[in-house]
C-alpha cells in the first residue's frame, strides 16, 4: 500500500513534425494517397526523413499527497506537455501515469469565458468547466468575487472588462478549485506585482491544506516560495528531481553554460 497520488512511469509524447494541424481537406488527403506510390521512386521530394520530435521521453517520478512540486526548464523543455498529459487533454505516446484524486488544471486562465456573458455568469460557467460543482461555486462565490476585485462589475458582460480584470477574474475562479490535485501552468506571468502576490499567497494557503500541486513557472521566486521539490526538464527528459535549492542551482548553471 502506498500513498502516492501521482505515479508516472516512462511517460513519453511524440509529435509529428510539419503536421498540418488539422487543416487538411479532402483534396489534400486525396493528393496524399495519389502521391504515395511515387514516394518510393523518389520522384516526389520527401520533406523530412525523420519527421518526429519527442516532446517528452522516459519521464518517471512520483508525488505523495501534499507535495508541492515545481517544474523548471527552458522553453520547449516539455513542462506544459507534461501538465497537458496529466490534465488528460492530450494522450501520451508511451508510458503511463496513475493518478489518485480529481485533477484541476489551470493551464491558461479564462477557459470557457465568453465575452457576452456577465462576470457572475462566467464564474459559474468557468467553474463548472474546470470541474467544480455548482454547490461548491455558490459556497465560495463571495470569496471568488472579492479575490478578483470586480464586485462593481459583476453584472456587466466581460467584454467590457479590461484585460487585467478578466485575468483576475479567471484566476480567482481557478484559485478556488477544490480538487485534490492542482496543475498550474505559467499563469502568473501576466499578472501585475500586487495581484501576483495575492495569487502566490492563495496558492500557499491551498498547499497548506494538504493538496498536491504541480507548478510550472519561469520565475524562480515563485518556485522557491511555494515548492519544496522541483523537477528539472530539458529536451523532454528529467535532468534532476531534488529539493528546490539544488535544482535551481543546476538550472542556473545550465543556463549560464548555454548562454556562454
Amino acid at each position: 500500500m502506498n500513498d502516492f497520488v501521482i505515479e508516472i512511469e516512462g511517460l513519453g509524447k511524440r509529435f509529428k513534425l510539419g503536421q498540418r494541424r488539422g487543416s487538411v481537406n479532402l483534396r489534400g488527403a486525396l493528393e496524399g494517397i495519389l502521391r504515395r506510390p511515387f514516394r518510393h521512386l523518389k520522384l516526389v521530394p520527401e520533406p523530412n526523413s525523420n519527421p518526429y520530435v519527442w516532446a517528452l521521453k522516459e519521464v518517471s517520478f512520483s508525488l505523495r499527497q501534499g507535495d508541492v512540486m515545481g517544474l523548471i526548464g527552458g522553453n520547449g523543455a516539455g513542462k506544459s506537455v507534461l501538465l497537458k498529459i496529466l490534465a488528460r487533454i492530450t494522450k501520451p505516446t508511451e508510458g503511463r501515469a496513475l493518478v489518485r484524486g480529481r485533477i484541476g488544471a489551470m493551464l491558461e486562465v479564462g477557459a470557457g469565458f465568453h465575452p457576452e456573458l456577465t462576470g457572475r455568469e462566467n464564474i459559474y460557467l468557468s467553474g463548472t468547466i474546470l470541474g467544480m460543482s455548482p454547490a461548491s461555486i455558490s459556497r465560495q462565490f463571495d470569496e471568488i468575487v472579492s479575490f478578483s476585485g470586480v464586485e462593481r462589475f459583476l453584472y456587466t458582460p466581460i467584454k467590457h472588462y479590461s484585460s487585467g480584470m478578466r485575468m483576475r477574474l479567471a484566476f480567482a475562479v481557478a484559485a478556488h478549485l477544490d480538487t485534490q490535485i492542482l496543475l498550474v501552468d505559467e499563469v502568473l506571468s501576466v499578472a501585475d506585482d500586487a495581484f501576483r502576490e495575492m495569487c502566490i499567497t492563495k496558492l500557499k494557503q491551498t498547499a497548506e491544506t494538504g493538496k498536491t500541486i504541480m507548478i510550472v513557472s519561469h520565475d524562480p521566486s515563485v518556485i522557491e516560495r511555494l515548492c519544496h521539490r522541483a523537477l528539472l526538464l530539458a529536451n523532454g527528459r528529467v535532468m534532476m528531481d531534488d529539493t528546490v535549492p539544488r535544482v535551481m542551482r543546476k538550472y542556473l548553471e545550465e543556463d549560464k553554460r548555454a548562454a556562454s
Partner: protein, 291 residues
C-alpha cells in the same frame, strides 16, 4: 507488535476505501465503463453549456426566438407557391401549407442539429486544448440546442393546423417516439461529422450543399406517393424518408407511411448512433492535437 500490525492493516483497508477516483493515463483508449461513468459525472456541464448557448443566441439577436420560426415558415411559403399552387402536388386533401410544414419542422431541426454539431469541436477549440471533459458532450449539446428551436417551430405548426382547421387524431401519440428517432439520427450523423470536420475542414463547407440535395430526395415538399412504383424501394432507403413521412402521418389525416421506410429509418438511426459513438471515441484522443 500485533497491535501495530492490526493498526496498519486497518489503515490500509481504510485508505483503499478512500473515495478518491483513480485514473489511469495511458496511450491506449480509456475503457468504455470509465467513459460512461465520466459522462454521468459531467452531466451538469451539459446543462450549463446548453443554457449558455441558448442564452447567447437569444440575447444577441434582434428577432431572437422568432428566428426558429422564420426558416421553416419562409421555406413553406416558397414551397407553397411552387409545389402547392403552380405544380399542385397531391397532398391527400390537406392544405399544402400544413402538409409541407409538418415535414419542414423536423427537417429544419435535422439540418440545424447537423450544422451545429459539425462545427462544435472547432468552435470550442479553446476548451479542447485547455480543459478535460468527455468531448461527446459538445455534439450532444449541439443536438439538444437545436431541439429548443424545434419546440418553438412545433408550436408554430400547431397554430397553423389550428388556423386551417386540421385536427390531429390518435396518431399524435406516435410523435414522441418519432422525435426520439429524429434526435438519435441527428446525433449519430452529428458525431460522425463533428469528428470528420476536425480532420477535414471542408466537411463544413460541403454540408449546406449536401443537405440541400437531401431535401429534394426526401418527401418534405411532396409525398412519396409521387415516386414511381419501381423506384419506391430505392427511395425508401433514405433514412430520413421514413421519419419525415412518419411525422406527417402522426399529425395529419390521409397521410401514409410505409412500414418499410419506417423500418429503414429506425435501423439507420440506431446504426448511425452506434457507429458514430464508436468513431467519435476513436478520434477523441487526438482532438487536442489536431484542432
Amino acid at each position: 507488535m500485533q497491535e501495530s500490525k492490526v493498526l496498519s492493516q486497518t489503515l490500509a483497508v481504510a485508505f483503499e476505501q478512500a473515495p478518491w477516483p483513480e485514473t489511469l493515463i495511458q496511450p491506449a483508449r480509456d475503457g468504455l465503463s470509465q467513459y460512461v461513468r465520466e459522462l454521468r459525472q459531467y452531466s451538469s456541464l451539459i446543462y450549463l453549456l446548453l443554457w449558455r448557448d441558448i442564452k447567447l443566441r437569444y440575447q444577441q439577436t434582434l428577432i431572437g426566438a422568432t428566428w426558429a420560426i422564420l426558416q421553416p415558415l419562409f421555406t413553406m411559403i416558397i414551397f407553397n407557391v411552387l409545389f402547392g399552387r403552380l405544380v399542385k402536388v397531391p397532398t391527400g386533401g390537406q392544405p399544402y401549407p400544413v402538409f409541407a410544414l409538418s415535414a419542414l419542422v423536423p427537417w429544419t431541426y435535422f439540418v440545424h442539429a447537423l450544422t451545429l454539431s459539425t462545427k462544435c469541436l472547432l468552435q470550442h477549440h479553446d476548451l479542447l486544448t485547455k480543459v478535460y471533459f468527455p468531448r461527446l458532450i459538445l455534439p450532444l449539446v449541439a443536438v439538444l440546442e437545436a431541439a429548443v428551436d424545434f419546440l418553438i417551430a412545433f408550436v408554430l405548426l400547431l397554430l397553423m393546423m389550428l388556423c386551417y382547421g386540421v385536427a390531429p387524431n390518435w396518431h399524435l401519440l406516435m410523435l414522441p417516439p418519432l422525435v426520439l428517432l429524429l434526435v438519435i439520427t441527428a446525433l449519430g450523423a452529428g458525431l460522425w461529422l463533428a469528428a470528420l470536420n476536425l480532420k477535414y475542414r471542408d466537411v463544413m463547407n460541403a454540408l449546406p450543399f449536401m443537405t440541400q440535395l437531401l431535401l429534394f430526395m426526401t418527401p418534405v415538399a411532396y409525398p412519396s406517393s409521387l415516386i414511381p412504383e419501381a423506384w419506391r424501394t430505392v427511395y425508401a432507403l433514405n433514412p430520413l424518408a421514413g421519419v419525415m413521412e412518419g411525422f406527417r402521418w402522426a399529425l395529419l389525416e390521409n397521410a401514409e407511411v410505409s412500414g418499410f421506410s419506417l423500418a429503414i429509418s429506425i435501423l439507420a438511426g440506431v446504426a448511425l448512433l452506434v457507429s458514430g459513438f464508436f468513431f467519435f471515441r476513436s478520434q477523441e484522443d487526438y482532438f487536442a492535437d489536431e484542432v
